[in-house]
Symmetry: C2
Subunit: 157 residues, 2 copies
């Protein structure tokens, strides 16, 4: 039984994700202006916000990129004042830790506030009471994804 | 009130989408083998499955691509036997309609079945009863996204 419900849920999620990607393709190819930061740069800010010990080596593993390419992405964010590189006191001293600055935290919060409006189409058919019921499930999804994300990061060690 | 709940729901969705994108980056850079079809090709199959009157011109608008690049993507799918181009009986006879073949429908269904397993991390913290409650909300999301997708396609005319 669980397998049937699970399979139904997953296929529905996949269907939604395909339609969402179609809408995103359309949104980005019809956007009035280019976004300020690339998708990967925003992900770096999100990762730095979630982990105290993020390094360029880890970013390379996550993105499947050479350290030099990761370094380019990171340096642009350092230059914009959004992240800083700190000495790793508890580990390899050659590996710098990537930390969000206060400005970076504000910018990430702006990106989320502004960017989240693009997701209105996901709930356009919801009544208010349905939104309230939905939020509890979303919190559970957020926990599920967060725990998978952490286990991927930590398995690198 | 509605605005607060809506804003909370949208920010939570944005948070989930960032974490999901991080996991996807990791999955694709650590994948044992390259997927058989590109992301855009799968989206073309999904679009053909949803619309009776899909044309290359529309695909160009959705993807923000030149007709020649769209033509390359489409020809590969025609060559693989997944789609066919039909004469448009009700419109511009120069514009061919893109239709999913039976083989294409089977392949899309396989892609969904196989691909949806990758989404298990989204519901790893769910109990079975919670999955059952969640499915009704997902159906509402699917309807919401489907209606936005259709309105984008139809506004091209």
């Amino acid at each position: 039984m669980r397998n049937n419900v699970l399979a139904d849920v997953l296929e529905l999620i996949f269907d939604i994700s395909l339609k969402t990607r179609i809408l995103k393709e359309w949104q980005s190819s019809n956007a009035a202006r280019k976004p300020k930061y690339s998708g990967k740069q925003i992900l770096i800010l999100e990762l730095a916000d979630n982990y105290d010990s993020l390094t360029e080596k880890e970013l390379g593993i996550i993105f499947g990129m050479a350290t030099s390419s990761v370094n380019d992405l990171v340096e642009k964010l350092v230059h914009a004042g959004l992240i800083e590189k700190h000495r790793n006191e508890n580990g390899d001293s050659r590996e710098k830790l990537i930390k969000l600055t206060e400005e970076g935290a504000d910018e990430l919060s702006e990106i989320k506030k502004f960017g989240s409006k693009r997701y209105e189409y996901l709930v356009s058919r919801f009544q208010e009471s349905e939104l309230e019921g939905f939020i509890d499930y979303l919190k559970l999804v957020d926990e599920s994804v967060g725990s998978s994300m952490r286990s991927i990061i930590f398995q690198q060690y």
